[in-house]
């Protein structure tokens, strides 16, 4: 029983971490503040770091006041609500000290000593330095006070107990500020600091074990986001989202603009770019790119073609493609440079887990509107227009055509990923 409780809790906590991506970023389109290099410009630096950590995306309810919390994070085990971070004395951080804040960010403890849920990615933020934490805190204290009491989480027993959280932390959480590797260049270290810490890339891009925890988060080996219907691809695999072979400028462009000639940030990643990375300085983006490009690569696994489609389904898939997709993506999946992405040779189409390709066809989407790409093009959603089976056939078509050589998908795959998209 004890084990069961524990593992269930871990799953809950982790699911919560992953589920937040359904949340959209705060509808804040204000221009970025300068990186705050000026010495002593603590508040400006804090604002910049908050962008790097995407704090407001989670801590703002839809249509609500920035930072006032109250955003629901649904998990299979109940709902977790984000906290009010504004300077309000009664319901926000108005009475917190910099030490209280440090305890939260670095050690996952609330002001009252309560252990916090790792849906708040303090497992990453623990790597943030004290100086940066103090800057973050200084900026948070400038958020206009909004009186909005924190909503109680509605997690079911036993997921709601501190004892279980304590057990989880004992197993999977070790507080510790980032330690630079003296053998690596400064730029690599800066990139590592941002990717592992505030950027919390591993919250999505790391695989989870049976207990829902990441044993090697920094490998960024790819993770399915439970309940999210998206797969955050491996940043270490050339078949998925490794950028080792990309020109450095393209990695920077992806994080800053949300599009490159060969990739588009979509779904949860579009939200990361929209709310966070587009605001980072070129120096920091370059540092992240250096680090990402140097990630140890996994050995390429051959993309096995597991199933074969019968002739009728193949024809139907091709017909659907010609009718619904070719207009934009081109008869041979060649796309149109700068406008419609090519589907031929596109890893978003061919990677082994088909979730993202299916999800894109179901829900459509726009690349994030960023300063570098303020008026993105959009892909229409097909969830209402096409049945599960039609979507399975057309996705199988794009995975199997033009040398893509990826396995077909079934209507059950599509049905599982539909969620609320109908």
């Amino acid at each position: 029983m004890k084990r069961l409780t524990l593992s269930a809790l871990v799953v809950a906590a982790v699911a919560a971490t992953a589920v937040y991506v359904a949340l959209k970023p705060a509808p804040d389109t204000s221009p970025a503040s300068p990186p705050g290099d000026a010495p002593g410009d603590l508040v400006a630096r804090g604002e910049y770091l908050a962008r790097a950590g995407n704090c407001l995306a989670c801590h703002t309810a839809p249509g609500g006041a920035p930072g006032a919390g109250g955003r629901a994070m649904d998990t299979p085990f109940g709902t977790i609500y984000t906290s009010n971070l504004t300077s309000d004395a009664k319901t926000g951080l108005g009475q917190w000290s910099a030490d209280d804040f440090w305890n939260a960010l670095h050690d996952g403890r609330g002001r009252d000593g309560r252990l916090l849920y790792p849906a708040f990615p303090y497992t990453n933020y623990t790597r943030v330095t004290r100086a940066d934490a103090d800057a973050l805190f200084a900026w948070l204290q400038t958020l206009p006070a909004v009186e909005q009491p924190n909503r109680a989480h509605t997690l079911r027993f036993p997921y709601d107990t501190q004892a279980a959280l304590l057990a989880w932390r004992t197993l999977y959480f070790k507080p510790g500020v980032f330690q630079p590797d003296a053998g690596k260049p400064a730029e690599w270290n800066r990139g590592a600091y941002l990717v592992q810490g505030l950027g919390h890339c591993s919250a999505c891009h790391a695989p989870r074990n049976a207990l829902g925890a990441s044993t090697d988060p920094d490998a960024l080996a790819g993770g399915l986001m439970p309940g999210q219907n998206w797969y955050a691809p491996s940043l270490a695999s050339p078949h998925e989202a490794s950028v080792a072979d990309w020109p450095q400028a393209e990695v920077v462009a992806l994080l800053r603009d949300g599009v490159t000639p060969h990739a588009t940030a979509a779904g949860p990643m579009a939200e990361v770019v929209f709310g966070s990375t587009q605001y980072l300085s070129d120096a920091d983006l370059n540092a992240m790119a250096v680090y990402l490009k140097a990630l140890p690569q996994t050995r390429p696994v051959k993309n096995e073609v597991a199933g074969v489609q019968d002739e009728l389904r193949r024809e139907r898939g091709a017909q659907l493609y010609a009718d619904q997709c070719a207009d934009c993506h081109g008869e041979r999946g060649e796309g149109r440079p700068g406008v419609w992405p090519a589907l031929a040779g596109n890893r978003a189409v061919t990677m082994v887990p088909p979730a993202n390709a299916i999800r894109t066809v179901l829900g459509g989407g726009y690349a994030p509107a960023t300063r570098g790409n303020p008026r993105p093009y959009g892909m229409p959603p097909f969830a209402a227009a096409l049945s599960d089976d039609d979507i399975a056939m057309v996705v199988s078509h794009i995975r199997g055509s033009w040398g893509n050589g990826a396995s077909p998908v079934s209507s059950v795959d599509v049905q599982r990923l539909r969620g609320n998209l109908r």
Binding site: A26, D28, E271, A369, P374, G378, M379, N420
Partner: protein, 239 residues
């Protein structure tokens, strides 16, 4: 920075409600490629946003730009619910939504003829009375007192009521009544809808959807009289 960015910054900082009435909709000067960029929309809303009179998808072409913009923000920020649309808008900025709203608003396309209603004359008469006169006994203002005497809306933020499918109209009114659809506060349409019973909603939706669109559907330029109730995002424009 232009007015718009300042307005959006202020909103972001203080959580103020978007008041479309305070933003200006610049003269056309559209980017020529905007129609390609909104192809993600026209699959549902019909070629150039002129959805047919049957079915559920509302027409968006030619509606007041401020109204369209408010709706896009509402879907993005959760005041209106339709996952397939809000999903598309998640990572779009206020500026871009303004441009998209202006684009659809500027389209001047003929309306299809109305659907012939098969309802009893008494149902339609009840609907017409509510629309034109309201029901003073229930303190229910006439729909026309806000939506314009021609019912084609009033620029920049009051939508027209003609050329919309029956099912869409009924669903919107029921949505406001039950708290699924929201507008900017104070939400006058919610106040109106709460006074309507199921029969009223059906009658109004049947009558409205069976009327030809007058004035080519163009919204009136100004309100004839002050609004009977204050409406968020609109009242400011009436002054």
């Amino acid at each position: 920075m232009n007015r718009l960015s300042i307005a959006s910054t202020a909103r972001a900082l203080f959580g103020l409600l978007a008041l479309s009435a305070t933003t200006t909709f610049a003269a056309p000067g559209e980017h020529p490629d905007i129609d390609l960029r909104v192809k993600a929309c026209t699959g549902c809303h019909g070629a150039e946003g002129r959805a047919a009179a049957d079915g559920y998808y509302p027409r968006i072409a030619g509606k007041p730009a401020g109204y369209l913009y408010n709706q896009l923000v509402n879907f993005r920020d959760g005041r209106r619910q339709y996952p397939l649309m809000s999903g598309l808008l998640q990572t779009l900025t206020d500026d871009y939504l303004q441009e998209i709203a202006r684009h659809f608003s500027a389209l001047d396309l003929p309306y299809p003829p109305p659907v012939r209603s098969t309802q009893k004359a008494s149902v339609l008469a009840h609907g017409e009375r509510l629309v034109r006169e309201g029901d003073p006994a229930r303190d229910l203002p006439a729909c026309a007192s806000c939506h314009g005497s021609a019912l084609t809306g009033v620029a920049p933020a009051l939508p027209g009521l003609l050329g919309l499918p029956h099912d869409y109209l009924a669903a919107q009114l029921a949505g406001w009544k039950s708290g699924i659809r929201h507008a900017h506060a104070p939400d006058c349409m919610a106040e109106v809808a709460r006074k309507l019973n199921a029969e009223d909603i059906q009658s109004v939706a049947h009558w409205l959807s069976s009327q030809p669109v007058s004035q080519g559907g163009k919204p009136a330029a100004v309100l004839e009289k002050p609004l009977p109730i204050r409406c968020g995002g609109v009242t400011e424009a009436a002054r």
